[in-house]
């Protein structure tokens, strides 16, 4: 069976920022922002489903590192086309920068070997670094294709992908296994499917199962597809000093609220010379 792994993240919805989006100390007020499926991870999930549509005998496993509630986006993935999910969750992971995060994810991926391809969104809207995908690939010595836009071809040996670059597109072919990061210009994810949603609506992590007032254990016993696995730091056999805050060399020195204000407006007339000068200037700045 062809194994596809999709790395997904639950993020605060920074697209709809209200006035209480930031706390007084300059950090993100996660409580005030709804938690959503990182948008480009949905593009990644769609590419995974397209691969499965073509390969047929394939299985999509979703992996998310995050707090307990991140199980929500794992269920969301199941509703849309994934087959199973793993939640990588431990207080020890808290405060991880991209280095510690990619280390943690790479340890989870080692446990999931063998796999044929790993797909993730280009970047998350809370950090906007675009580093976790590439760093994870490096740690696992996987070839990587970043900024993927279209899945051109796939078989059990290789994948061909069109990349969206700043000044055009590039089509590349990579041997498998490899890691792909998907750009927002890729196909949007298909909707939740009604039957899948009803089938997987009670898919739960062990922690959720414990916290639930209804006893679903018998149901999970008979329907193993409803089990979302949960791995802690111990399960990953990770080096503790490389996890979370202690594994994160990135230290935030200061965060400032930047208020954008316009300055030095340039007035132009409709004369040809003025128009030409602004066109030349914009081209020089690579704006047009």
């Amino acid at each position: 069976m062809f194994k596809i792994i999709v790395l997904v993240k639950q993020v605060p919805d920074t697209r709809n920022v209200g006035k209480d989006a930031m706390k007084a100390d300059g950090t993100v007020n996660r409580a005030a922002l709804p938690a959503i499926f990182n948008p480009e991870d949905l593009n990644a999930l769609e590419m995974a489903i397209q691969m499965k549509d073509r390969i047929k005998d394939a299985e999509i496993t979703v992996v998310s590192m995050g707090p307990g509630r991140a199980a929500e986006i794992i269920r969301e993935s199941l509703y849309r086309g994934a087959d199973k999910g793993y939640l990588i969750s431990d207080m020890k992971f808290a405060g991880a920068d991209t280095l510690a995060t990619s280390y943690t994810l790479s340890m989870a991926l080692r446990k999931l070997e063998p796999y044929n391809v790993v797909i993730c969104g280009r970047q998350a809207i809370d950090g906007d670094t675009a580093q976790v995908g590439p760093q994870t690939a490096e740690k696992l010595s996987l070839p990587q294709i970043t900024y993927a836009e279209t899945l051109e071809a796939i078989d059990t040996e290789s994948v061909t992908v069109k990349r969206r670059l700043e000044r055009g597109v590039e089509t590349v072919k990579s041997p498998l296994p490899c890691l792909i990061t998907v750009h927002s210009s890729a196909a949007p994810c298909r909707p939740r499917n009604a039957k899948r949603t009803l089938r997987f609506k009670r898919a739960l992590t062990p922690s959720e199962l414990q916290a639930s007032s209804t006893d679903y254990s018998a149901m999970l016993e008979s329907c193993s597809y409803l089990r979302i696995r949960e791995w802690s730091a111990g399960d990953l056999q990770a080096e503790p000093q490389r996890l979370g805050l202690s594994g994160s060399p990135t230290k935030v020195k200061k965060i400032e609220n930047v208020v954008l204000a316009h300055k030095d407006a340039k007035m132009l007339t409709a004369a040809d010379a003025d128009v030409e000068s602004v066109v030349v200037e914009l081209m020089g700045e690579h704006i047009i």
Binding site: P191, R192, A194, K195, L198, R199, K201
Partner: protein, 580 residues
């Protein structure tokens, strides 16, 4: 945007106490859960499933269908090589809903369906219609599956029904150039071909919604030499079998995304659905009731869109240094739009519940269950309520949708006349609602017998008997006075002992009955909202008060007209002056 979760009234109506009965009957012991992993295990599970699927449809409606509506309206569908090509947005809407697995919502699970009650199914239709009433036709024609399920042979069911859930589109091909409201005049010829063991269809159909669909239900004359309904049978045709051509699509005023086709049948092979000669008498009538419920949902969805557009604009637009919503002339319009929408919605879901119960009993019988005498009586009562509420719903919901679209433009003023705002499209889309699937005038024809045989009176009384909080007694008093006027008006018209005079006053009588039914339902809604302590319960109270105040005035108008009507003066109306 999610058109389900942003409208609390939907969950309110879904949670009506009668839904328990609907679902228990529909799921009949919840035994499907042993065979299908997506079937509910109990009532709560089913309700949760409805909620989740409506969330999906609400999101697609808000995020995809509504944003596509303007382009679809401009682009429309067109014909290429005798086949229909949807507007790009239409195709995208259809593909997305297919991926979401929300075709075949009401079909049994063994045919790949979700086996939902009519209530969430109709609710989904309302949600889709709010986003794009024209597209709602293409989605709503999955109703055809119901007809196949109820009346076709097992072979036909097995052949066609599983395809609905994978996105096969449907059409019901009834109308012809000379057979519109009068379907008895259908001419399309069906002849049995011994060689292929198929029926061959020849002729022309006109005004066929989604006429190039993959699965087509066709009304045709199978009995040579007949000229009335008894010579008509019902057939299913698969587009893949060939023999049909789309000659043209109509250039319409509204619902432009929904292709209205002129279709030519040339030896098109088909299979008989059910029994010969029962086409119009039984099957089309059944399908038509479903379609009328569908137009009810479409109308309520469109009204909801009109209300929201108007309210939004009135809260933003300033004139004379004030938001226009602060002017009595404007806020009255907006509140009345809301009250009419709520009134149409409450009769929509009341109708859906009775249709659902009636259909579930029929399904039980088809499945081989012998109903107990109590169940038979319950089934019969549900069927009667469904039959009497359906034309009332279609009449009022579609007329209100037109009034609401008209007022929505009025609130926008001159801007609303431009193509810059959606209200202009809503106005054009609304116009067909009171025409197709039976004009308002034909709904009155269907409803008037329930006036004269006192069925509506019994229904109204059954609502009036339900206990409500003391705060609603004043509304009940007004409704009781309206009932008195209704009974007197009926008596007056019956006293004429003249069929023509009965027809002449029929609409007035049916409208009075409708005002009473909706008034009572709104009181019951308000009472439930208050007793359930809903945070927005005052909205339901407001709508009940506003609607009943206006309904009382309407009833007075109609009853006064009837009371003072001089029977001889009907002559004045008979030959409208041409002034030539």
């Amino acid at each position: 945007m999610n058109f389900y979760s942003d409208n609390k009234a939907l969950k309110f109506h879904l949670g009506h106490p009668m839904i328990k009965q609907c679902i228990d009957l529909k799921e009949n012991g919840y035994t499907d859960s042993e065979k299908f992993d997506y079937a509910p295990k109990d009532f709560d599970d089913a309700m949760d499933s409805y909620d989740k699927v409506l969330e999906i449809i609400g999101e697609i409606a808000g995020e995809i269908i509504a944003p596509n509506a303007e382009d679809v309206d401009h682009e429309g569908a067109h014909v290429e090589n005798y086949r229909v090509k949807y507007a790009k947005g239409t195709q995208k809407n259809h593909d997305t809903l297919t991926q979401a697995g929300v075709y075949g919502i009401a079909l049994p699970r063994k045919y790949n369906g979700l086996h939902f009650s009519m209530v969430p199914y109709v609710m989904a239709a309302e949600i889709v219609s709010r986003a794009d009433a024209g597209f709602a036709n293409i989605w709503g024609l999955q109703d055809c599956a119901e007809t196949i399920e109820e009346f076709a042979s097992q072979d036909i069911k097995d052949e066609f029904l599983p395809r609905i859930a994978t996105g096969a589109t449907c059409s019901m091909d009834l109308t012809e150039p000379d057979a519109g409201s009068d379907l008895q005049a259908v001419q399309l010829k069906a002849t049995y071909d011994e060689a292929s063991k198929m029926w061959l269809l020849n002729g022309v159909k006109r005004f066929i919604t989604n006429g190039d669909a993959e699965i087509k239900l066709v009304l045709a004359r199978s009995e040579e030499g007949t000229a009335d309904a008894r010579g008509l049978s019902y057939f299913v045709h698969d587009k893949a079998w060939g023999g049909t051509k789309v000659r043209r699509i109509e250039n319409k005023m509204g619902i432009k995304g929904s292709p209205t086709c002129e279709l030519v049948f040339e030896n098109a092979p088909s299979k008989l659905v059910g029994d010969r000669r029962m086409g119009l008498i039984k099957y089309v009538m059944s399908l038509m009731n479903g379609a009328r419920l569908g137009v009810g949902a479409q109308s309520v969805g469109l009204s909801e869109a009109a209300c929201r557009e108007a309210l939004k604009y009135a809260g933003e637009r300033e004139q004379f240094k004030k938001k226009i919503i602060e002017f009595p002339a404007v806020y009255e319009m907006l509140s009345l739009m809301r009250a009419k929408t709520d009134a149409a919605r409450t009769i929509l879901y009341e109708t859906s519940r009775w249709v659902d119960i009636s259909k579930s009993y029929s399904a039980l019988q088809r499945g081989g269950t012998t109903l107990s005498p109590e169940q038979r009586a319950a089934s019969k009562a549900a069927g009667r309520n469904a039959d009497m509420l359906t034309p009332m719903l279609k009449l009022f919901a579609s007329e209100y949708a037109n009034q609401n679209a008209y007022d929505a433009i009025q609130v926008h003023g001159g801007t609303g006349f431009m193509k810059d705002f959606p209200v202009e499209r809503l106005y054009r889309d609304a116009r067909i609602l009171s025409i197709y699937e039976g004009t308002s005038q034909l709904q009155v024809v269907a409803a008037i017998r329930f006036v004269t045989n006192d069925s509506y009176t019994a229904l109204i009384n059954s609502y009036a008997e339900q206990k409500v909080e003391p705060q609603f007694e004043h509304l009940r008093t007004i409704l009781a006075k309206m009932s008195d006027k209704y009974l007197k008006a009926v008596e007056t018209v019956k006293g004429f002992e003249n069929e023509e005079l009965l027809d002449f006053h029929a609409r007035r009588l049916v409208e009075i009955a409708g005002c009473l039914i909706m008034g009572h339902l709104l009181v019951l809604d308000a009472n439930r909202a208050v007793t359930e302590e809903l945070p927005n319960s005052s909205d339901y109270v407001k709508s009940a008060e506003i609607f009943i105040a206006h309904a009382a005035a309407k009833v007075k108008e109609h009853s006064t007209f009837i009371k003072h009507f001089n029977a001889e003066k009907i002559a004045n109306y008979k030959s409208p002056a041409a002034r030539d």
